[in-house]
């Protein structure tokens, strides 16, 4: 009998070591509220789009925004679509970015670029009337940023455009027809600049020089490269969290967690002595396993998630308390040590199982694993529920298997 338990003990050690290893080598993914960043909910304006084409339009909005975010350089952004009622939405999370406002501007712009000819001959720009030419951002091959080398605008940032073969042809035709006249560049129906065409441009290269600084020029280039949004979007919810607030939250939660754990450990040991100590060891193993699961799955840890974790520690202890109390009872009823221990495990398990199934069910409803639109879709709530679910599942393992093995191993030696 003893030998079999030693195999289990070895298994527990291996699992603990593996969990510790994962914790050492794998990074923990932190949510926006811990590392700072922006959370945006964008609503698309689908009024101009046929109902049957909306899902596709929403997807292409997602793709374009995804490309913009990638080009802007955000590590691990989250972009997901959501359809709620009649509204098609996009949820964008940008962790760790510093200039949130700039990023928001970058994401939200439709970025429809088009070239327009002047219909009037007057020189003043405000009086000019333009007509579309059919040359748009779609004809663009790529956009880049450079700095004007000479002239009055020396040192100013400009956006370089390179057209596709088709676009180059159109552009050549346009410049030929408009020598000496302005050719206007519009972005989202706003006049950016209207340079005078000096000579026909045949190689399909052009430059936009407006009132750009390095940032705004590269932002425009990113938008042009990533393509225009097929429909206008509007931000209906936004959450910006500064990195300092995030760091403070981590510190506070860590402190709270450690102090809470120490209190619980003291409580358990003073109440149950050696079994209490075993429960504390079980709790440490529990902590290691849960955290390593977060890293492996991976679970993005958020502030409510930390609360879920800390709460689940309390619930993990419950399995132990159930067993210990039952054990004491069986001993009081005069049963021999070994029998009392086994009875306690068996009987406590019934209660533990039934009780935990409801917690598992509620957390599954909150996690909404099938992404049902009529259930909760808030990332914060889901994060909390996921940590609670993982906590309960892990605590079933540590509360039963780990504590049981350790108790059989270490308690029986003393009492037998």
């Amino acid at each position: 009998m003893k030998k079999k338990w030693s195999v289990k003990l070895l298994l527990i050690w291996l699992i603990t070591l593996a969990a510790a290893g994962v914790n050492w080598f794998r990074p923990l993914k932190m949510g926006l509220d811990l590392q700072g960043g922006a959370h945006l909910v964008l609503e698309t304006d689908m009024s101009q789009i046929d109902v049957s084409a909306r899902a596709e339009a929403l997807n292409s909005v997602k793709e374009v925004i995804g490309r913009r975010v990638d080009l802007y350089g955000v590590a691990e952004p989250l972009i997901q679509t959501a359809q709620v009622g009649g509204s098609d939405r996009l949820i964008v999370e940008l962790p760790g970015i510093e200039d949130i406002d700039q990023a928001v501007a970058l994401i939200g712009q439709t970025a429809q670029l088009d070239f327009r000819e002047s219909l009037t001959v007057e020189a003043s720009a405000s009086a000019m009337v333009f007509s579309s030419t059919g040359l748009t951002g779609k004809d663009l091959k790529k956009a880049g940023v450079s700095f004007a080398g000479s002239g009055v605008q020396s040192g100013q940032a400009v956006v370089d455009l390179e057209f596709t073969a088709d676009g180059a042809k159109k552009f050549a035709g346009l410049t030929q027809a408009n020598v000496g006249k302005p050719l206007a560049i519009f972005l989202d129906d706003q006049l950016v600049t209207a340079p005078i065409v000096n000579e026909p441009i045949l190689d399909g290269r052009a430059q936009i020089s407006g009132n750009f600084d390095a940032d705004s020029a590269s932002q425009l280039a990113v938008q042009l490269n990533a393509g225009a949004l097929p429909v206008p979007v509007k931000i209906i919810a936004q959450k910006n969290i500064s990195a300092t607030l995030g760091a403070a939250s981590i510190d506070q939660s860590l402190k709270a967690g450690v102090i809470g754990l120490v209190l619980v450990s003291l409580f358990m040991v003073s109440l149950y002595r050696l079994p209490g100590l075993i429960a504390v060891v079980g709790l440490i193993i529990y902590g290691l396993i849960t955290l390593s699961l977060y890293r492996l799955i991976p679970v993005t840890l958020t502030l409510p998630g930390i609360a879920g974790l800390i709460l689940s520690v309390g619930m993990a202890v419950d399995s132990n308390i159930l067993i210990f109390e039952r054990f004491k009872e069986e001993r009081r009823a005069g049963r021999p040590f070994r029998l009392a221990l086994e009875l306690a495990f068996g009987r406590a398990w019934d209660a533990i199982k039934d009780a935990n199934i409801t917690t598992i069910a509620v957390s599954l409803i909150l996690i909404n694993p099938f992404n049902l639109q009529w259930l909760n879709t808030s990332g914060m709530v889901r994060g909390f529920a996921l940590t609670l679910l993982l906590g309960v599942l892990t605590s079933l393992f540590t509360g039963i298997f780990v504590t049981r093995t350790l108790m059989r191993q270490f308690l029986s030696k003393r009492y037998d």
Binding site: L263, E325, A361
Partner: protein, 282 residues
């Protein structure tokens, strides 16, 4: 053995007084709904400015609803504003008062609040349905499920009432996290009740001749230590979070704390007495 059931009038009385007080406040004051429900904007800034002057500048720039000082920063609330309006405000503040650092900015359209309420109710209905069905199945008796759900209702009324009062006294607002806390407490409450039910089921098998009252008394006595000890560990963790865990989750944690206490209390003193009353009268 302690005759717990004998004091049922006291338990029901205490619960009724607490629920009546809370419900009265709910009817009169309602709940103070936060941004997540009402929509609007919240901007937290660090700026070296007197609060009066800050108010004047902010009122000129955005539709300011309230301005509040918290530790070394200011919290501005207003109807929903966009990024551009916010930037305009911070630019103006920079010119007037020097350095401005933005700690957080949240803006939420009013429609989202409606959705949150709707989705919560659907989630709640699903959870209750599951609990009723599962308990009816596990205990071969639908009364168990009904009483557990009544105890759950008791706990949610206590939390809602407490937050209605906190809203009226301290201006505490409820948000999406509060909704989560309530749902969690519901599952905790049932968790706790089931442990007790489980004991009743076992004792019924062991002592088939005993009356329901005696069995319930025995089960309550047997699980009381476990129940108190278990809740204490959760309360230790939550208290630690409440004291050291920072501003953002403070009220969330308090909701969990109130719920844990209420959920522990409601198992032996609401769910089981109700169960016994219903069973005895049949």
């Amino acid at each position: 053995m302690i005759n717990w059931f004998k004091y049922r009038v006291f338990y029901f009385g205490l619960s009724l007084v607490l629920i009546a007080g809370g419900s009265y406040s709910l009817l009169v004051n309602g709940l103070k709904l936060g941004l997540d429900f009402t929509g609007g904007s919240l901007l937290e800034l660090k700026v070296n400015a007197p609060i009066g002057e800050l108010q004047t500048v902010a009122e000129a720039a955005i539709p300011l609803a309230s301005l509040q000082q918290s530790n070394d920063s200011f919290i501005l609330r207003s109807r929903a504003i966009d990024s551009a309006q916010k930037m305009q405000l911070t630019e103006t503040l920079k010119i007037k008062f020097g350095e401005v650092s933005e700690i957080r900015f949240e803006t939420i359209g009013p429609l989202l609040g409606q959705e949150l309420i709707q989705k919560t109710l659907i989630g709640l209905a699903l959870a209750v349905l599951f609990i009723l069905v599962y308990l009816a199945y596990r205990f071969r008796d639908k009364t168990f499920g009904i009483c557990a759900v009544l105890a759950m209702l008791h706990d949610s009324l206590i939390i809602l009432g407490a937050f209605s009062l906190l809203g009226a006294w301290l201006g505490v607002e409820i948000d999406a996290l509060f909704v989560t806390a309530v749902l969690t407490i519901l599952s905790f409450s049932v968790h706790d009740t089931i442990v007790l039910y489980d004991r009743i089921r076992e004792d019924r098998r062991l002592y088939p001749q005993e009356t329901m009252v005696n069995i319930a008394n025995r089960a309550i006595s047997e699980t009381m230590t476990r129940s108190v000890n278990n809740s204490l560990t959760i309360i230790f963790m939550l208290l630690s979070l409440f004291v050291f865990g920072g501003e953002t989750t403070r009220w969330f944690v308090l909701a969990l704390l109130i719920g844990t206490v209420s959920g522990t209390y409601s198992s032996p003193f609401v769910a089981v007495p109700l169960l016994v009353l219903i069973k005895r009268n049949r």
